[in-house]
Amino acid sequence: MKLTKLLPRLNRKQKILRNLLLMFLLLGFLWLVNDFSAPTLELAVKWKAEKYFLDQPEILGVFPREDGEDDVLLRDENVFASTLRRKRFLCFQEALEFFFAHPEEGPVVFLQQRDAFDVTAVYAYAELEGDVRAVCDLRLRSDIDASISDEREYVSRHFDWDETYTMEGTPNENSLYRFAFQRKYPKNHEVGYEEQLWQSAERSTLLDFQAIPRQSAGLDFACDVTITFYGESGEIIYVYQRELWNTLERSGES
């Protein structure tokens, strides 16, 4: 017996109602299989913020990354955080876990981007008057043993890493600065082992840097940030300094 004969015979109005009901059920399933993602960035951030008990998150800036994802910087009163916007099928998008900035007493908040595969920028929110540009000095120190091996050779070297990355930025309409990060030893497999060791050491140091917001940067690593804010005529308006992490001394003791 055909299934259709077992089902009640519906008139056209009933069929319309049935189809609309079915459509809403399928839309619900579609939303479910898209992991309850939000249709807009604002909603995605708001829903994620509820997870952290933040009521009114305000997006300070959205900056694209090379991999098609976007850095999203936000604040909710005195709480500042960064997240990553990931686009999914159709218009669905999600905001990943928040990285919270360290609470600050002064007018400047330093923000790290939510980690993905690489460090491409750091951010700062500044509630200053008359600032038009800023220079960020990010000093990374680390105690690293880097090694490379292949079928023919094994090369290793110890690094007392101490590099300062200087970046310049201008504020957006929400007083948010983006400082584009440039590696000193960009990835390149065409160069010799010695240069690759430097790349590896830098990569390892940056991984520690990325782990600071998770409070898991580990031992043998220190990070200091200095941001100097300048006015229109080049005068210094404010200098922000912070030690984000330091376990070099602790590791020395052990």
């Binding site: 056209r12 109005k13 189809n19 509820e50 997870k51 952290y52 919270f100 409070q215």
Partner: protein, 247 residues
């Protein structure tokens, strides 16, 4: 007027054209059934056709009635509803086919997550009184079990079984991993990442999640420990054994 002419005239009144073919088929079935019945009881085929056609009535009257039953707006709405169902079904298939995450990332089977095993089942621990559940934001957070374990080195540990629920299925349950702090009656602060520690565990499922909070390396027998979510502003106070709870 023969059957074909009658039928064309009646159906011509129906403004919703997509229905015309089905109506014509149904009218023809009805006419043919009647004609066959007449032939079976002894009517000549031509006479049977004539009588069956006459029994169908006036083509214009029937057509107008059919038009009223098959109103265009209702017809188009029905077609639209079918199209929407089809489109939604295709979008679901598209999610699986084109999403870089595929079905594997779909968490509908973790809408209600449960911690599978009790990692401290073998420990001989003291059960403490659970604090009352709290409402925080969109969530209800309940401590279902509090256990206390005093180590031989004078350091103690506190284990809490926690459930988080929300009525909004699109929200993930709160992150307890790195967002909690604790303070005890001696003023000792417990944080994530540095000893003395507090660490939570729960996944990012929706609606319901069962997780745990652990406070480690408690010293000097505090009277109570308060577990704090600094951003959310909610706290749980656990009265500790030993010195006795302070007010």
């Amino acid at each position: 007027m023969d059957w074909k002419e009658w039928c064309a005239r009646a159906v011509g009144h129906v403004r919703f054209k997509p229905d015309r073919l089905a109506i014509e088929r149904e009218l023809t079935d009805h006419y043919e059934d009647h004609r066959r019945d007449l032939v079976r009881i002894g009517y000549e085929p031509n006479l049977a056709s004539e009588r069956a056609l006459r029994a169908m009535g006036d083509a214009d009257t029937v057509g107008e009635a059919l038009d009223r039953a098959h109103q265009p707006w209702l017809g188009w709405l029905w077609e639209l509803s079918r199209l929407l169902v089809l489109l939604t079904a295709l979008l679901i298939l598209g999610t699986a086919a084109f999403s870089g995450y595929g079905w594997g990332s779909v968490r509908y089977w973790t809408l209600f997550s449960h911690q599978q095993e009790d990692p401290y089942a073998d420990f001989d621990m003291e059960e403490l009184t659970c604090p009352a559940p709290i409402r925080a934001g969109a969530y209800t957070i309940a401590v279902n079990r509090v256990r206390y374990w005093a180590g031989e080195n004078g350091q103690a540990y506190l284990f809490l079984d926690v459930t988080c629920t929300t009525r909004k299925p699109w929200l993930e349950v709160p992150d307890l991993t790195s967002t909690l702090e604790a303070v005890d009656s001696n003023g000792t602060l417990y944080r994530y990442g540095h000893a003395p520690w507090i660490i939570g565990f729960n996944d990012d499922s929706h609606i319901f999640s069962q997780g745990s909070i652990t406070v480690e390396r408690i010293e000097d027998q505090p009277g109570w420990i308060e577990i704090i979510h600094p951003i959310g502003g909610w706290t749980f106070r656990i009265e500790m054994p030993g010195k006795g709870a302070e007010p």
